[in-house]
Structures are given as structure tokens and as C-alpha cells.
Symmetry: C2
Subunit: 327 residues, 2 copies
Amino acid sequence: MRVIVDAFGGDDAPLAVLQGCELALKEYDGVEITLVGDIPTMKKVASEHQIDLSQMELIQADDIFDIHTDPVEIRRSMSNSSMAVGLKELAAGNGDAFLSAGSTGALLVGATAFVKRIKGVKRAALAPIMPSATGCFMLIDGGANLDCRPEMLQQFGLMGSIYINKIMEVPSPRVGLANIGAEETKGGELQLEAYQLLKQSNINFIGNVEARDIPLGACDVVVADGFAGNMILKSVEGMGALMIKELKDMFFASTKTKIAALLLKGQLKQFKKRMDYTEYGGAPLMGIAKPVIKAHGSSNPNAFKNAIRQAKEFVQKEVIHEIIANL
Amino acid sequence: MRVIVDAFGGDDAPLAVLQGCELALKEYDGVEITLVGDIPTMKKVASEHQIDLSQMELIQADDIFDIHTDPVEIRRSMSNSSMAVGLKELAAGNGDAFLSAGSTGALLVGATAFVKRIKGVKRAALAPIMPSATGCFMLIDGGANLDCRPEMLQQFGLMGSIYINKIMEVPSPRVGLANIGAEETKGGELQLEAYQLLKQSNINFIGNVEARDIPLGACDVVVADGFAGNMILKSVEGMGALMIKELKDMFFASTKTKIAALLLKGQLKQFKKRMDYTEYGGAPLMGIAKPVIKAHGSSNPNAFKNAIRQAKEFVQKEVIHEIIANL
């Protein structure tokens, strides 16, 4: 089981990527790693930080796909970037999964162009996994497709249900449609039609869910078009960041509050772990013909390690095979 | 300055409404109140809870508009509900503002039908005011109009800017367009066209804002279509609720953590107050020809009091006059 990793994607690349890969090799049996990027730079960084690259395969790619480059450039001028080379390696069968913390837009365009979609899948979706009051949920689509048709949302529901069932081992994942109200008659044309299609699907569709109930654990898979999904994803992230900031200010207010922070140390650590979405890995690109995972841009070594575990499970639990069988 | 209040809207009506009105009369000079609802019930509840109704005008309405009734019913079978009667009183000039914690949909339909929109305003919007890291922001539209045209979003930006300038006394409110990225080229057709219209408007348009930056204080007015706005509003609410729940669990974990909670008492109180959106009142219906305010369904007496202060300022600071002058 070989995971191809873009060594030059993410804010702390390549250092955090290399460290994450080293951790993953130690921890996960049966995982092999191919690193794609500028080999001299990788070797230099590895030697500076005592990272052992001897068990990893290295593939040279001269360019780095910058987050600000137009995503479609990945097919043209950026086709020798670490991301494009890694995707082509995956397409050629020289690995089982691909992982990158680089530009989401480029990864979507590149994965669709080089690796292709599963036959019959209308659109690939970005599907982050996020913490909730009761565990976690998959949000599909988190921002890949701004204009969606009802059939796309139906496919998102099916693919999300299979992923959460296989990877998170939830027996019959509750699939909900993000909407402005719970009643069947709520929403615009897209939601009304998608509701009926999801209802007819062979999944555990629980109907509409209001965004308020999503972080509270309303369902295991939240289906939305990419624009609405992005609003949910980013609002939840932003509100989480605000609350963390407020908490920090609170604990640093005085000697008294610093003592309180000490007394809460164990709870705060647990809380931080529970709210850390990188514990679940990155966001899979659902609908692509082979496992492709987008790690968060700010991933640290532990986040990369978790994303490699996720890639391993994505392959071993045959998620894509199951999607093909159910389409 | 007379505020007409729907005594039978909200989860704790009429008790919380009557108590809020009593508090407002004591606190705010120059405010007069008209309560609409079933007079015998109001009198009974007031006498049971020692609430002084002698300074308030009471108007009889036989029906209560239930939150589950179809909103359009307000014009037909529910035209004798406390909400409809109150709106008709406002339209007839028997008061300066109307306040209800009842069904949002019915209030929108009723306000548009009985009070009408400002001439030239294409759609009325629900515009909640929410806390952020740096103070507060108005979200317009929070869920009234699922299908919006670019010109509607332009008007939302203008109306929001005027409200925040007049009521919150922000000199040149920063108006942002909710979008999936900061660049001018991001988003679907609606966002691309609205961006250009907002740029041409006589407001301080700062461009696109990502949902993640909204709770962190990215701007003072967030413009969105009603569906996207509702996703933002409810996600922020839900994530806030999740964090509060997690905090509570943390503080109740053991004797040690309970001591920590005691040490943090002052900070927790301040934090709660800062995160309490009812401190700013309710959500004004922007674009209606007279001030109409939707209070939160779960409003307590203090929330009703704040919404009455908000109604008073909405009238006295001539927000609607200013909107008409700038359309």
C-alpha cells in the first residue's frame, strides 16, 4: 500500500510533510511512501532535522504549485509541479493514494484531469470531516462545485454515506440535506428536488437539517452545494477560532484565571483534541477514480500523519469499489 | 414614540413579553407601548406575576399565529392574529414600530402585505446582528430571500450600511460580500455581478469576505443571499452552542474544575454577555416602510427589553428616512 505525498504543499512544507511521513512509517504497518518534490531540497531539510528518508521513494518535480496560481494552470504551465507529478504517478498506477496540502482548486482540477472521475459520477466533491457534539460528520460538498444540480447532491449523499460507513465504521450513516428549515417543503428548487432524489436513494436519508443542528450532531453526512457547504464549513471554523481566542483571553486575564487554567489542564487538552479536525485526517476528494486527499494548508506533522492513515484506510476499505457498486 | 408589541410571539409568551415591556417602560424615556393579544389572558398573566400593565395600551386579537402555520395564512385565515393585528396598527399609523418574536416567515409576509416595502426596495431582508471578535456585525439577508438577484444584494449592502452607521454609530461601516474566497473573481454569477454593483455603490465596500473571517470581525455588514446567509447565521449559532456545551461539561467534570469555574466567574460572565446576541436586540426587517423587528423565538424578558430599545432607536435615528434618501 503506497501513498504518494506532495512534499511541497502546505504552509510548513516540506518540513512538516517529511516529519509527518516519518511518523506515519513508524506507526502504520504496511504503508510505503513516495515523496514528490525537489529532491535536493528534501534531502537538505531532512538532514537539517534528522529525518530518515531512507525508507521513502523520492520523485523529482521542479515546480511548486503556489496557492495563488490559477488552478487550471496545473494542466498547462504547472504540469511539472509536485502536485501534478504526484497525481500523474497515481494515475499511472505507481501508488494507491495521493495526498497534498496544496491549493484545493488545483487539486480538484488536477485530480479530475489526470486521475479522472469514477465512471458515472457527475462531479467530484471536497468532503471535509469535522467534529460535532456527538463525534464527527462529513460535509459534502465543502466548496468544489458552486452550481449543483439535484442529481449531484444525490450522488454526494451516496458517496458520503459509503465513506462514513467504511472509514468511520458508522453502521447506517444518517444523511441530511443542509436547508433553511426541517420541513420537506423548505428551500429553493435545488433543495426541493434533491430532497426527493435523496429520499429515493438506498441510504439512511433523515431529511433536511438546519445549519444550527449540524455542529450539535444532527447527522453523519451533510449534503450541500459547494457554495452553501463552504459557508457552513468556514463559519464553523471561524466561530471555533473566535471561541478559542475568547477562551485564551479569559485564561490570561489575571493570576487567578491562570490558576484556573492550570486546574483545567486535563480538560482543556481533551477539549482541544476533540475539536481538532486534523485528528480525522484531511478532506477526501469524493468521486475521483482513486483515493485523493486534501490535507489542511496549516497541517502540522501530526495532521500529515493522520492524513496518511486516512489514505491507507481509504484504500484498504475499498471505498471507491463500494461507490462503483452502488452508483 | 410608541412601540406595538406582539404579546403572543415567542416560546415564553405572553409572560416574557409582558415582563420585557415592563422593564423597557422603566428604563427608556419617551417609550410608550401597545400590547396586542388576548386581553383577558394578558391581564391574568400580569396579575399572577405582579406585572403593571396600567401604563400600556392593550388591543384585542383573538388568534395566535403558530410558528408551524403556513406564513401566507397571515393574510387569510390568520388576519386576526396578534401579529397581523399589530402590523395593521402600525400600517394605520397607531404606532411607530412593531416587534414580534413569532414566526419569521409570517412576519415577513405580513409586514410586506400590510406595512409594504419602501418604494424602490426590491425585497425586504431579515438582518440579525451578531457578536464578533471586534464587536458585532449585521448579516443581511439572514434567510428571507432564497433566490436573489445582484441588485437585491446591492440594496442589502446599502440598507445594512445605513443601519449600522445610525444605530451602532460606526462612522463608515465596512460592507463585505460573503464568498468562497477573497479575490474579485471568486463565486458564482450572483456574487460576481453583486461584487461589481456593490463596488459602484456609495458605501465602504471592502470586497469579498470568507465565512471564516466573519466571526473574527472581518466587516460590519455581511451581504449574502438568504440561503447562504441562513447557513452562516445558523452555523455560527450552532458552533457557539456546541462550544458553550463543551465549556459546561469541562467545568462540571470534577471538584477541581468547579473551583476553576469559580475563579473564572467574572470572566465567564463577561464572555457570556459579549456572546449574547440579544444584547443588540432582535433582527430588523430591512426594506419595510416602517420599523419592524423580529425578536428571537427564545427571547427572555431582557431580550424583549433590548429589542424595544432597538425599536426606539430605529425610529428616532430615522434609519428609514435615510434609506429612502439614498436609494
